[in-house]
């Protein structure tokens, strides 16, 4: 199976991120959508009145609540320094596409379909319970059960780490780092560093 040059992948990912922002006015975060779906299944639809407030209504209600919580003088504070260009609340209301379980499912389903299409076009479509690589084969020792346990364990660890860090590789590694968010820089250093270290360590030990 042949691969495109690495930089094509980079440009493609950047294009997807920009298209996501332009179409939905939201940063792309895969685990956030997954979490929203799981929470919907666990806790059911939102019950609180006011969940359907538009951005403009929400900000209006927030201004009232701000005065109630901090006093009228709080409203006289100067505008915060921000690197973001000023955005009108109305434009957010108009442009911000509501996110529902349907849109989350559509996005996550498109990930699967996209991967499937990519495999079909690349000629590498096939069902497997394994990962390529000598190290994986050595650790699993050829046992199908061992391979399944490794994949399951890896998935659980990735999921737990994602929840602990408040985001996944796309959220922190792509969106957060590009916005110079300190937490995302640290998270990305953490998961890339740990991945490299674990890989080197296992390669030496096994």
């Amino acid at each position: 199976m042949s691969y495109l040059p690495w930089y094509v992948g980079g440009v493609g990912i950047a294009a997807v991120m920009v298209a996501h922002w332009l179409s939905l006015r939201r940063m792309m975060a895969v685990s956030g959508r997954y979490t929203a779906l799981v929470n919907r299944l666990r806790f059911g639809p939102p019950k609180d009145e006011g969940q359907d407030l538009s951005a403009e209504e929400l900000i209006r209600a927030m201004r009232e609540a701000t005065e109630a919580a901090f006093g009228a003088s709080a409203m006289d504070l100067p505008e915060p320094e921000s690197s973001r260009p000023p955005v009108s609340i109305r434009s957010v209301d108009r442009d911000n596409v509501p996110q529902t379980p349907g849109t989350h499912l559509l996005f996550l389903g498109a990930l699967v379909v996209g991967g499937l299409l990519s495999a079909l076009l690349g000629g590498g479509l096939g069902v497997t319970s394994s990962l390529h690589g000598e190290l994986f084969a050595r650790v699993a020792q050829g046992s199908p059960l061992g391979k399944a346990a490794l994949l399951l364990g890896g998935g659980v660890l990735v999921g737990a780490g994602t929840r602990m860090a408040g985001g996944c590789t796309s959220g922190h590694g792509l969106c957060g780092v590009s916005r110079s968010q300190k937490g995302s820089l640290l998270s990305t250093l953490g998961f890339f560093g740990a991945g490299v270290a674990a890989s080197l360590l296992l390669g030496r030990l096994l």
């Binding site: 806790f43 009145e49 209504e57 921000s82 929840r163 922190h172």
Partner: protein, 72 residues
Amino acid sequence: MPRRPECPNTLSCEMYDLLKLAGTLAIWKTNYCTSDFERCERHKLSSSGRPVPRNLLPNGVLLRHLSKGERT
């Protein structure tokens, strides 16, 4: 002067984006998001794995529709 710690959920917090849009709401950021975010009710819910209502303020107040008379 060292910068104060920022809430790790700023990337995913729906309200944080709104706070950035309206300068008059900056006091929430300075009191919660960029300082004592551990006491933020949104942060607490998110950390416990529960869904965070989009109308929940950091101090635990749930925003509701304003009545017609209250609308400006």
